[in-house]
């Protein structure tokens, strides 16, 4: 196998991490919705924390993307 082919396969493997991130983000918003449904008054407090959790989880996806870029271009 030549190096370029191995690189493409490696970059593809690196973004498997997105599976976990998808579950994570889905989980955050599912919990956010159910907590707002249980207690609508808490919406303002919970929403900020939920968005923060979303941003932190999304960053994990970008770490994987970064590794994929490093494999492809570096």
């Amino acid at each position: 196998m030549d190096v370029q082919a191995a690189r493409y396969i490696g970059a593809g493997l690196a973004v498997i991490a997105l599976m976990g991130v998808g579950v994570g983000i889905g989980n955050i918003f599912a919990t956010l919705i159910s907590s707002v449904a249980r207690n609508p008054a808490s919406r303002n407090q919970v929403f900020g924390i939920g968005i923060l959790g979303f941003a932190l989880t999304e960053a994990v996806a970008l770490f994987a993307l970064l590794i994929a870029f490093l494999i492809l271009f570096a």
């Binding site: 968005i51 932190l56 960053a59 770490f63 970064l66 870029f69």
Partner: protein
């Protein structure tokens, strides 16, 4: 393919300077940083120039930014943390304006370079550690051993805690840098799809509009995340658990 999606992050020297063998040229990145500082100063100074009791549009934007960060610092780091409010506010405005100026077409996002974000994160890390050392002295090192954990576990817990403490600036800088870089790369990739597909380019074009809106959200959100993590680190430094 005209150019690679990473071409947009290229740093160009606008004026060359060499100080003691080091390349200290004025680049497009430095230019955008200067513009950001000028824009922040103009935004805040002009906004609070004629302080009316009933604020106009501009003044209420200035007040909104100020109160947003003031509340954040107060909620997370407590009254003792309010001493460091100007520092946190400067970090927030600098990152926010850096992200937003990058959204102007054909401009440059200086926060999409790891050098810049790592310098910011290292500054946060060093400052917070110095604050903790100044407030608690040698007692600060008890931070690496959680309260109430069995002493027998110390050889395992202490290295993990030290490692997680040291990885803070890395994760803080990579988060901001990767978000900005990935976002702008994605916009470029969908832009090339639009050009390549001709008439059917309407579809990726629609996606691109949504992505641009999403990028504005990310630009503000990442500035918020960077600041709130700074606040949380500050809280750790002040309270030690």
């Amino acid at each position: 393919m005209a150019e690679s999606p990473l071409e947009q992050f290229k740093i160009e020297r606008l004026a060359e300077f060499h100080i003691a063998g080091y390349d200290a040229s004025f680049t497009n990145s430095s230019l955008l940083m200067v513009i950001a500082v000028v824009a922040i100063t103009a935004f805040l100074v002009l906004g609070s120039a004629k302080s009316a009791l009933v604020p106009g549009r501009w003044q209420s934007m200035t007040e909104l930014a100020y109160e947003f960060i003031a509340n954040m610092v107060h909620e997370n780091a407590g009254t003792a943390g309010m001493k460091y409010f100007p520092w946190v506010f400067s970090i927030f405005m600098f990152v926010l304006f850096g992200n937003l100026l990058g959204m102007i077409p054909y401009s440059f996002t200086f926060t999409s370079h790891i050098v810049v974000t790592f310098a910011l994160a290292a500054m946060v890390f060093v400052t917070v550690t110095l604050i903790a050392l100044a407030r608690h002295g040698l007692h600060f090192f008890s931070f690496f051993f959680p309260h109430g954990a069995p002493v027998a576990m110390a050889p395992l817990i202490v290295p993990i805690e030290i490692l997680s403490y040291l990885s803070r600036p890395v994760s803080l800088s990579i988060r901001l840098f990767a978000n900005m870089m990935a976002g702008h790369t994605m916009l470029f990739v969908f832009g090339t799809f639009t050009v390549a597909l001709g008439l059917f380019g309407v579809l990726p074009f629609a996606v691109n509009i949504a992505l641009i809106l999403f990028e504005f959200l990310v630009a503000v959100l990442q500035a918020y995340v960077f600041t709130i993590l700074t606040c949380l680190y500050l809280k750790d430094a002040i309270e030690l658990h």
